[in-house]
Amino acid sequence: MSSPSDVFFKNMPFSRRAMVQGGAASGMAAILAGMTFPKSLGAQTPAASPAASPITWEVPTSIEGEVPAKTLSGTVVLAAAGEPQSFQPDFQADDSLWPIACNIYNSLLSLDNSFNVIPELATGYTVSDDGLQITFALNPLATWHDGVPVTSLDVKYTLEQIVADKSSFGSSSISAITSVDTPDAYTAVLNLSAPSASIIGFLSWYAVFILPAHIYEGTDWSTNPANQQPIGSGPFKFVSYTAGATVELAANEAYFGEGPYIEKLVYNIIPDDNTQVQALLNGEVDYIPGLPSSQVATLQATPGFKVNEKVYPSPIHVGFNFNHAPLDNVEVRRAIGQAIDRQQILDIALGGLGTIADRYYPAVIEWASNPDATVPAYDPDAANAALDAAGFPLNGDSRFDLKLYLFTGWPEVADTATILKEQLGAIGVNVELVSLESASWLEQVQSGESDLAILGGFQGPDPAALKTRFGTGASFNLWFYSNPEFDDLLAQGDAATSQEERVPIYFQAQEILAEDIPALQLVLQTSFIPFSDRLSGIWTDPDDAASSSVGMNRFTLAKLAE
């Protein structure tokens, strides 16, 4: 190194993962990056409607049986990209804690590998006819790791605390909850201020893990000592944390459901994704949460490993600043859309590892995605003609200049931006790339500095997520786009309770977006999750029953072959 300080500032080798999961921004980088791995999902808008995954559980009157017998063996080591900030998963967004918390705690419901809502701590729920009450039945076998039974009082404490603490991650997403009633130990009744189709999805997701009331009640939940020594109800118990290095969990032999099968679950914190791959190849870890695209072929060809593919509804998209002329003109926005060749982006920027995204809501969530509400098709001649007609003739070889803001740490997005610059240059739109570290990027884009901004971002599993990107004044409406008709449709969509009712509403909302073109969807990146083939029961494995019976990141059913 030229001087140590010099090295500190140059040559930042951050992979997207290192940045995102290393916590460049808890939650934040994830959404920017449109994350391709499970932990990132947390940062996004979760929302599955009960209609999306039609479950008609009855609230059971009594539950028989006892905790399934456990046979335990082996230690499984998982790579984790960032260090958790604490072990309390609800009071702030923490993408590094999220996958770990999924194994220590339980939420009422969870989402399986295909984004379906499945039961966890709750065995079922019913919604009242007016949509204002949701009744959850809790599993009576569930106990906290200190032996105290899990009851509806824990649910009441947790959900009311989340709503009350406006600074918590979940507070705005479940704010429809006004109170929780506890008619008996295993029944929790959520009273809502208005019907909300998206709340079930939020309760299956992120930062809504049920916390032990007997430990947290009456204390400051952000500084409670249990935040460093967590007590959960999940399949694994917290054993120890070595600062910045490892988190060790041990099987919870009193777990109420099937599993766990492994004795010890160790998270080994490895921020660099290339190092993660080497550690996997050398047998030092058994599972890594994502694979750089450059390594996919190598891992697939190496015996002894399985590689799961996963597509998240997180399209890379570029949006227009409606406050900057000439982007306030829809003809200009359409022309820019026509200049974009998505196949080229897919082939070059993603190396072919992904799919084209041309709908306004990702096709991954099939029922909610309108196949006819698409971005303008590639047609550079039409783009040129439209710009001529709109009053932006070629002056020399350029029509006007735009600044495209991107954030560092996600190589595929940087490549996409470079290709966009080329493609727009071909129709005489001069693009200047402005590359910023993510926190600065967000601040500058939100304050309206950019003409164009490019990002990813989870938009599933419920179309209610469209609101945060395109709703008037929404936190991630980086485009200053506002259409009251669109806002109105999204409000209707959330209040409607059946899928049949919701589909036409959201389809119409997507048609409005296709007419107004506030942003252009580009491509969807496929993520790859490799693990040792000695492991089975992994939640991402579509060939394994675990993919539909445990929630994301849960290693409840994982087994290790000798």
């Binding site: 916590g23 930062a207 600062a243 290095a245 080497q278």
Partner: protein, 321 residues
Amino acid sequence: MGRYISRQLASIIPTIFLSVVLNFILLHAAPGDPARIMAGMDSASPEQIEAIRVKLGLDRPLPVQFWNYVKELLQGNLGQSITYKQPVLDLIMARLPATLMLTVTSAVIALVIGTLLGAIAAQKSGKPTDTALSFSNYALFAMPSFWLGLILIVIFASKLGWLPTSGMRNVRAGYTGWRDTLDVMEHLILPVATLALVQIPIYFRVTRASVLQQQREDYVTTFRATGLPEGRIFRRYALRNALLPTVTVFGLSLGFVFTGAALVEIVFAWPGIGRMTLDAVGRRDYPLLLGIYLILAIAVSIAVLITDLVYALLDPRIRLR
């Protein structure tokens, strides 16, 4: 000598205070808002962000925030980390030993090897040995540390299987006692080698240039004229005088032992403070960053002080001035 030391010591205090002021201003002037980052993204409502801001005291005017910070600092309290919700000092102390193990070891190794090679090259100036050494040092100098680290991992951990890939301990084995110490040392080899390799060229170049310069000095010519053997002139006089700049470089490099290894810590998954610093920058964890920078400022000041003292010992002219 005593007066010299106290004068130097007195100059440290304003230096550190100035650095606290500058760090505070620069950090808050940089774009990015910790409340916004902490709120997470999509579901963040303006009320949620405001609630976090109030909770963290970021809603108060900057001078008030600064005054509160300094007040706490004077009582020896570095404050609470915004993201970890733990005392800054505890966080730093939990990671400092790992980093020091890495940086101090590699700095000493680089000093010894670099100086030695530099002296050899100077003695063989213009000969093939010199050319070869200079060339390889330039090559090392141009290598980014994280890249070199990864290459070493691929060769020594993946291909040859001699050494562990990353981390500080074998997480499966869970060794204790002397076996644990041995385990940590095994894990230390590659990151230390990486850091040492990229630092060696600094000492190499300084020593080589400095020895060459000394050999052209009048006193060396005089010694030569008196018939003193060349080897003796080199060892007893030229080399000793030539070591002064090396001492300076080493002293300054000690100032960076805290955060200078960040990239290597990331590549090798080494649980050190440099990595935490980069995380804290990304999250705009002001109290944690201020704490790290304060310790850094103190470390640099002390390193400079020690360098000055060593200088004064080596060179009487300095302490008399």
